[in-house]
Symmetry: C2
Subunit: 159 residues, 2 copies
Amino acid sequence: MPRARRNGVGVGAPGMFSLVMFEIDPAFLATSQPVGDLALSHVRLQSDARFPWIVLIPRRPAARELEDLAPGERDVLMEEILRAGNAVRAVGEALGRPAAKLNVAQLGNVTPQLHVHVIARRPDDAAWPAPVWGVGVAEPYAPAALEAALAAARLTLGL
Amino acid sequence: MPRARRNGVGVGAPGMFSLVMFEIDPAFLATSQPVGDLALSHVRLQSDARFPWIVLIPRRPAARELEDLAPGERDVLMEEILRAGNAVRAVGEALGRPAAKLNVAQLGNVTPQLHVHVIARRPDDAAWPAPVWGVGVAEPYAPAALEAALAAARLTLGL
């Protein structure tokens, strides 16, 4: 292995190698809580007690569309979407509101960094049967409910 | 092979075998045009000239959520979502409105049969940056535009 290269990252050879850092768009930091990291995606719980709602953010810099992931990564994302579905169901159970339906969406019109919403829905929720985006305003979690929701999500995801 | 069984379908043995037919929910028939069939999904063009918009309906009776598909089928669906993305981009080009962003969603709150929306979006479209559902009313395609849109979708999908 050349002396100037270590773990694929340039060391001591300016300009020959570049390290592209993955940074979460600040828009997510303002609206959600970190749950943890799966193989591909950073996982966040949306800060809105009205809906059990996870956001998956694949840790791939500059990805905006599903096609920006490698084929194998897309299959990993599909599995992580299913796992997130189980996690939002668990959050709903923990909050005493079991889910009736899952909603999954990759939109990105406002925040272009590739991300997937996975949301547990119920006929008595604040937006049903409409999608959740743009409906009313987010309700903050009470501290104990947030703790219970994060714990349920992490347990289900093995995080 | 037993005489009473042919291609997995019961013949002459009432009650022993049942053939589960896949039928498209009539709600889709009223709001979209058939494009054709991919390996897993029936493909339809939404009858709304405001948005290049394809609906993928996996031909699996009783499926409501992604988890109702077998793991291999979920990967096929992911590939068909990407192909549908290329198709709605081609529809946008054919109509002189190239896409800036793709939106992908599996909701099903109103029509529970498993289906995935794939929509080409632009900052000057009728709903941007909001999701398209529930915004205004669908605008019918003019006959020539519908023909061009269907042709572009079929060419891109190899149908």
